[in-house]
């Protein structure tokens, strides 16, 4: 489908950019992808998101939209087929709620696992487990957050599926297992097998290495 000049500025390891790529794919929208070097941001990125200077940035009809969840809403409103958000206002509110919960609670805890050591790391892992358990309640016993098929919240949250697995392997910690979070574990399997959702997930080994390197750099700074 013609995208009328759609361009996405992203970064391979960014879960936020992943959201937008998945959304565009689900809607079958053609676009040009530009991989950003975050150490040397392009003028397009700096102009497109002058406030935060972060990816993702969607460029469409000469205008720029930033903030991944804002971009998802924009995409859903411009291209109305294969809707991401449900129709019912209450269900829409629920989808937005869980997407926000993940950003507010799960992200800091999962980032904490990467950036902290010792007792602080234990604390972050504990918090991550608590928040993931709460997140599971958002499934409300269904297969995915959108009900029977992938929707807004699933697209917003899907990156957790591979991040959690990656952190568990890279840092030898337990975040989710079949016993303590069976529904969320099942959702993770479902998402990781979905062809659209997994298409843009970063190469696993590359991400593990990238995260380990990041951790070494950050924890070296802390201990110095």
């Amino acid at each position: 489908m013609a995208g009328e000049g759609v361009k996405l500025l992203g970064y391979w390891a960014s879960p936020f950019a992943l959201r937008v790529r998945s959304a565009l794919k689900l809607k079958g929208i053609e676009y040009e992808y530009q991989e950003e070097d975050l150490g040397n941001k392009s003028p397009l990125l700096l102009q497109g998101n002058p406030v935060y200077k972060k990816v993702p940035v969607l460029l469409h009809k000469g205008k720029s939209i930033s903030e991944s969840l804002v971009i998802l809403e924009y995409i859903d409103e411009v291209w109305k087929h294969n809707p991401l958000l449900p129709e019912d206002p209450y269900e829409r509110a629920r989808s937005r709620f869980w997407a926000k919960f993940v950003d507010e609670k799960c992200v800091p805890a999962l980032v904490g696992v990467i950036t902290k050591v010792g007792e602080e790391l234990e604390k972050s892992a504990r918090e991550a487990r608590e928040h993931l358990k709460t997140l599971e309640s958002g499934l409300d016993g269904k297969r995915c957050f959108g009900g029977t098929k992938i929707g807004f919240a699933d697209v917003a949250i899907a990156w957790i599926a591979y991040w959690v697995r990656m952190e568990q392997e890279a840092f030898k910690i337990q975040l989710i297992d079949q016993q303590n979070m069976p529904l969320l574990a099942a959702w993770i399997d479902y998402v990781l097998e979905d062809p659209v959702m997994k298409e843009f997930m970063p190469p696993y080994d590359k991400l593990v290495k990238h995260t380990r390197d990041l951790r070494e750099k950050l924890t070296a700074v802390v201990s110095n």
Binding site: H60, K63, V70, Y90, A93, K100
Partner: protein, 231 residues
């Protein structure tokens, strides 16, 4: 008893988050039943309706609860289509959502942190707050309209609106100065216009009560931080 069409709002008198929802309902002329919650002694009702956060505001409509103030605003705008809060155009809507998020996470949050912190942390927080205000001022100036979205109050105005009646109190409690009207003329003018609207100004908490409450809260937060440091 007034017919409320099954709309209830759980709030707390001084909560800027609950205030956002009150403003939205009033601007749309939606009747609702207001339930004051003591957030330091939460009712079973609040815990049941917002099991994840246990916080106000919670909007209950047709028996279903919606939490998180900005999400509630979107819900209200979708259910009651009169006096729309968000613009029609998708790009303008995206801009409104972007700036609402900015107003919440950068503007309001930084002022709060500046009020509650001390020493070096406070200096940093004040700097962040001023930077946030500069961005907001720049955007308001660029738009050149009476309110953020145009000539009528909209989504961003409601989200950012808490600073109109709480900022001065936070500055006093925290012994900080952020809103210098010569430095931020557009924001100052916007605040004046916002508070001039009868539905906005109606029923706002009293300044002296806010001062007493935030002074107490600020001290509690400071002493909690100290005990974490010495533990």
């Amino acid at each position: 008893m007034e017919e409320t069409g099954g709309v209830k709002l759980l709030g707390f008198w001084v909560s800027p988050f609950a205030q956002r929802v009150k403003w939205a309902l009033k601007l749309k002329g939606v009747q609702y039943e207001y339930i004051e919650e003591d957030i330091y002694n939460k009712s079973p009702l609040l815990s049941k309706l917002n099991p994840v956060y246990g916080m106000v505001p919670v909007l209950v409509h047709n028996g279903k609860p919606i939490s998180e103030s900005i999400i509630i605003l979107e819900y209200i705008d979708e259910v009651w289509k009169q006096a729309p809060l968000l613009p029609q155009d998708p790009y303008e809507r995206a801009q409104a959502r972007f700036w609402a998020k900015f107003a919440e996470e950068k503007v309001r949050q930084s002022v709060w942190e500046a009020m509650c912190s001390s020493g070096e942390e406070k200096q940093k927080a004040v700097k962040s707050a001023v930077e946030a205000f500069e961005e907001f001022e720049k955007e308001l100036k660029r738009r050149g309209t009476k309110f953020f979205g145009g000539e009528t109050i909209g989504f961003v105005d409601i989200v950012a609106g808490c600073i109109s009646y709480q900022l001065a109190v936070h500055e006093e409690v925290g012994s900080i100065k952020i809103l210098d009207s010569s430095r931020f003329p557009a924001i100052s003018e916007w605040i004046k216009n916002f508070l001039n609207h009868p539905l906005i100004n109606e029923g706002l908490p009293q300044k002296d009560q806010m001062f007493a409450y935030f002074s107490k809260r600020s001290k509690e937060i400071a002493s909690r931080k100290m005990s974490h440091k010495t533990a």
